[in-house]
Amino acid sequence: MKKIINDPKTVVAESLRGLAAAHADVLRVEDDPAIVVRVDAPVAGKVAVISGGGSGHEPLHGGFVGRGMLAAAVPGAVFTSPTPDAVEAAVKATTGDAGALLIVKNYTGDVLNFETAAELAAAEGLDVRSVVIDDDVAVKDSTYTAGRRGVGGTVLLEKLTGAAAERGDALDAVETLARKVIGQVRSIGVALTAPTVPHAGEPSFDLADDEIEFGIGIHGEPGIERTAVVPADELVARMVEAIVTDLPFGEGDKVLLFTNSMGGTPLVELYLAHGIAERLLAERGIVVERRLVGPYITSLEMQGMSLTLLKLDDELTELWDAPVNTPALRWGV
């Protein structure tokens, strides 16, 4: 294993120190428990949108803290959900009378820890709601599994609810919006290589030089299917097919297309894949009105990509376009 680190045990804390140093105008990092907080939190009269989860998916979530997006992010150890007291600390640091919305990615650990945190916060008289995002079409429904995973859709959900909170929407409205977004966003991912968890020291799975994993998550778990390397045209077509038929998305639908790198896949490949996805969607009469391309929800150094489609309407488009000022997403400011 080769990484630019000192010690697997201190990776997250040291990385947060760099994040804080780099973006002191936007956020601050509090220690013990470690949380990332908007520099001007708590913002009076506004709902605090909070998310978190295991580290290793940067810029998610800490890179999305700032005006117009997250009030706080709660980073766990690498690939490990944060503990309830960390989540509670983030709630306390950012939440006033307007309350807080917790965005929870659907993993057993995240759900359990955030659930407990929400109870703790409620016991302190804070109005805290939770939504669970589960946009990964690779996973079978929850009769057979822990349910669909929260993946790329999380980034969009954080931006949209953050924008709603920023414009002053009440908690009920922000929660309703979140549920609407979760209802109409779908994702799928593929991996060309495995990530290496620092403390594990070895790649999370072995892939031959002519194999890829289709339907992977973001924690180095193998995908639903191992297949041969295929040309990008075919790969992206399979991904688009999996998403589009799931919701389903159909002719005339307006969408946001999010083409995401898993970390190790460079932009030259990512834009290539994005171009194919745009073409395939156009062929189906699906209208791409907004797009996001880049490494936004990653899995350490894993090579691979995911596609996320969100059905847009005027409200969502307006919220997407609203100003945002975070380390990883910034416009309008």
Binding site: F79, T80, T108, H199, G217, E221
Partner: protein, 207 residues
């Protein structure tokens, strides 16, 4: 021999040593069908328990169990943190203010721990989780009713070993391994393995 606050604390220290020793094994099991953190998570948690026991000396077995519970909940994270945390918390409640835990109370505490894990995680037997080690362990403990603490824990540990073994052939339906479906077959569930390790450590400490 019955179990006091001191012997329970010693058992937890012994368990911490066992977890540290098997850290890499548990990481590897989780790497195969999960996200490669189970050993690291538990090691962090049990190391923190040892630290907590170094500074506090809870007076009852229940208080020791509660210290373990809150430490696990606040240091482990992931799925295992809340689940093991709940197990110790429910056991602690069951232990009440008893100064010594005898066989009968131990069995009740084990049953409460199992019920806590199932209440939180919603897993049933056969889902290929730590529950598949805990269910047979509790049953074996109940069958050993009347024996002393050491014998009950030994019976539970033996059964947990077999239960953990049984997960190898299962298709997981809960937790991260469930995403893999059939592909997870042939791998032991890391949480079931850690449950077996913990019970074995307690049994050894009680001898």
């Amino acid at each position: 021999m019955a179990c006091t606050a001191e012997t329970l604390a010693a058992a937890l220290r012994a368990a911490a040593a066992v977890i540290a020793e098997h850290r890499a094994e548990l990481v590897d099991l989780d790497r195969a069908i999960g996200d490669a953190d189970h050993g690291e998570n538990l090691d962090r948690g049990f190391t923190a328990i040892v630290s907590a026991l170094d500074t506090a000396t809870p007076g009852t077995p229940a208080a020791v169990a509660k210290l373990a519970a809150t430490t696990l909940i606040s240091k482990v994270g992931g799925a295992a943190g809340p689940l093991y945390g709940t197990a110790f918390l429910r056991a602690s409640v069951k232990l009440g203010d008893a100064a010594e835990v005898d066989g009968a109370l131990l069995i009740e505490a084990l049953r409460a721990a199992l019920e806590g894990v199932q209440a939180r995680g919603k897993a049933v037997g056969g889902d290929a989780t730590m529950v598949d080690a805990l269910i047979p362990a509790v049953s074996a403990a109940e069958e050993a009713a009347g024996s002393d603490v050491a014998a009950i824990l030994a019976a539970a540990a033996d059964a947990a070993d077999k239960g953990a073994e049984s997960t190898v052939d299962l298709v997981p339906r809960k937790g991260r391994a469930s995403y893999l479906g059939e592909r997870a077959k042939g791998h032991m569930d890391p949480g079931a393995r850690s449950t077996a390790l913990l019970l074995r450590a307690f049994a050894e400490a009680a001898r």
